[in-house]
Amino acid sequence: MEEYTREPCPYRIGDDIGSAFAMGLVGGSIFQAFGGYKNAAKGKKMVGMMREIRMRSTLTGVQFAAWGGMFSTIDCCLVAIRKKEDPINSIVSGGLTGALLAIRSGPKVMAGSAILGSVILAMIEGVGLVTTRWMGAMMDPTQPPPEALDDPRSLGQKSQAEPGLDQSRPFGIPTGLPNLS
């Protein structure tokens, strides 16, 4: 039970680094395979392709891991500072990550990559938001409208003006027996 309730934050940095590395490795392999095939000598297409993948895709993976780790670290810092988790966190940390990873290229490049990073993260967040909101309706247009919720019981019976229910009588049992007829 403790596993479910613990704070995700410092631990998810490691998770993110790992998953980003895996993503970069797979994506980089696919991407470099094309270039390796194209540039290899005629009889050695396969060998050239494999060499290119071995040499380059790990680099791509490491770059992805750096991005993911930096992003997650900044995200966690923002969560700790703002004490709130919302899409703004990830957009800001995407921008900061872009800027910090390009810090050795000067302010102009930093600004460019910061804008790029935040735009990309905003797109990702937006797509997530839209899919969670509209996916249900798109999947099944014939489904019944969302059911109406009752008021939570812990609020108590304050000014319950539900029609057809008399709250003065317990369990809705009519007390005036003569009126039953």
Binding site: E85, L129, V130, L149, S154, Q160
Partner: protein, 219 residues
């Protein structure tokens, strides 16, 4: 050995000029070789020939092999085809920028709308943080977050939109956590005469004794 050193020191004292010193330390053959190397070094130090600089401005062999520059079309049809493809590219770019703009517009509308779960979550969390009783229950600084995903993200705020008695309502549930305790906050908003207004907002803590604190009740 001692005699040699004494002789050397005498020479050193007597002649402080360099050449003589060199001639004393080195045999004539060695001195010639030494002067040759010095000459060679001085020659190397002279600025590189301008030939190299020219080459730097030119394209390298690798570039010439790899980079192909398209030559401009000379015929009328070629020119027309180039213009057409350029126009198509520009249109594609403009369409892409427009699409991104529309997407951002829609997103901003969703995000900042009065009835979006994010807005309600922000407002409700601000109310909870300002409330004195909530600070008593949870602690001075209260963090708010939504449902946790498997990847450790807690950004998604649980919400349910429905219609009851002809009124649009949205209920939002989020988690609050302070130094002392954590709990759940539930809020509901209702559209009355076009405006979204609070229906209720209350917090419940998890630890015993469980208490329910109602901040807003407009039912």
């Amino acid at each position: 050995m001692t005699s040699l050193s004494t002789m050397l020191s005498r020479v050193l004292v007597q002649n402080s000029r360099k050449n003589v010193l060199k001639s004393v330390f080195l045999t004539p053959n060695q001195f010639r070789a030494f002067s040759k190397t010095i000459c060679a070094l001085e020659l190397q130090k002279s600025p590189p020939t301008p030939k190299k600089q020219e080459h730097a401005l030119q394209r390298s062999i690798l570039e010439e092999v790899l980079v192909h520059e398209k030559q401009k079309p000379t015929t009328f049809t070629g020119k027309v085809a180039e213009k057409a493809s350029n126009t198509f590219m520009y249109t594609a770019v403009v369409a892409g920028v427009g699409l991104i703009g529309a997407f951002i517009y829609v997103l901003a509308g969703e995000f900042f709308a009065q009835d979006s779960p994010q807005t309600i979550f922000n407002k409700a969390l601000a109310l909870v943080r300002e409330d004195g009783r909530c600070q008593d229950i949870f602690g001075a600084s209260i963090a708010g977050f939504g449902e946790e995903t498997s990847r450790g993200r807690r950004r998604h705020v649980a919400h349910h939109k429905y219609e009851k008695d002809g009124m649009q309502r949205i209920r939002v549930l989020f988690h609050v956590k302070g130094d002392r305790d954590e709990g759940i906050a539930q809020a509901e908003m209702e559209q009355r005469d076009g405006d979204w207004e609070w229906r209720f907002l209350y917090v419940e803590n998890k630890r015993r004794p469980k208490t329910t604190h109602v901040l807003i009740d407009n039912r």
